[in-house]
Amino acid sequence: MSTAIGIDPDQKFAQYAHPERLVSTQWLAEHLGEPGLVVVESDEDVLLYETGHIAGAVKIDWHTELNDPVTRDYVDGAGFAELLSRKGIDRDDTVVIYGDKSNWWAAYALWVFTLFGHADVRLLDGGRAKWLAEERETTREVPTPAATEYPVVTREDAAIRAFLPDVREHLGADRSGRPLIDVRSPAEYSGERTHMPDYPEEGALRGGHIPGAASVPWAKAANSDGTFRSADELRALYEKEQGLAPGDDVIVYCRIGERSSHTWFVLVHLLGFDRVRNYDGSWTEWGNAVRVPIAVGNERGSSSA
């Protein structure tokens, strides 16, 4: 990890397993412009950055930049190197990502950066909404950073990304220590609906959840201002209430993998779980796949597949 940029000594963060993964709005305001620090905005709304962003921040869009334009997959090593070079990001830079919607897409971008092993990548606690609520400065001026030469790094999916066959295997006879977490809204979990309230139908033919999955909506990990809940609150939720243990082999999913990136961040970086995979195919894959088991209703359902 880069040592050029220090960590935010905020007391709240000190209670997390990896305090170096979060920065506060105050810390960021004080460190803006330091060499070796790049701020990235990543939003659901593709035009939000253009309406005003943190000074010097570059934009990375999930749909148009992190996804492969043809295959349903992320960009490859060459594509990521090209993207980050164009954004002026070096391999050893400290990257702070923030965004709208309680940092869903920021967490998603951070997770993709992690697929490529970018060492020092952090989230801004509270994201874009908190920065604006505090009436901190924004600008419409788009920076033109000098291109860097980000190396071509092979994407390593195995450790933090699950594919459909991995999830099927996860459903095997012995489920102990192999929890599956569905972070969607209760109505999506039960099968009443296949997409978020107020969101477009994104084409899942079947409703419900993966059998055996526990329902833990992502929002339980966030305060109303979009910041993460305290370490004690998060432990109470995931470890006491849900019975997860930091050594568990966990798979999280949602609809397309963005909300589950938020939960992935919480489990890995805030609670110190060391084996958490995000199933980015999520419900838009599982709910369309032929002959995969599906449970409906509020019960977890049988896990035999």
Binding site: V46, E50, P200
Partner: protein
Amino acid sequence: MTTELVPLPAGLAQIAEEFAELAPSDRLLLLLEFSDGLPALPAALAEHPELLEPVPECQSPIFLATEVDGTGPTATVSLFFSAPPEAPTTRGFAGILHEGLDGRPASEIVAVPADFPLRLSLTDAVSPLRLRGLSGMLSRIQRQVHRRAQLGQLG
């Protein structure tokens, strides 16, 4: 082989041309102009949100309303939109429809082809999924206008 496209009404055709003439990287900035320029709701509607129809195809909350002056194909249509500043893409789509269609006759509005959103040269900049929001707005406007102007059976 070229497929014959249904022509766009003049207002929308001009907007589509403006987008097409720009470098891809500048197209979002034109969308931002439409977003910034979307007129606020008139007081009468702002006080009566129940008169507005939600558009669930959009990822962000947007509401729209139509007013038709009279009936029949030549009746003039007024369009109203409400979307928050944190949803600039949706506001931009609304701004395009407002500039292109507000004050136009009912017949022109119901004749806008459903593939209009794909003809804005925005597919790469915005993504096809996000463009669905614009389709959702357009189809709701057309349905309302069809009914209010009493244009008869839907084709």
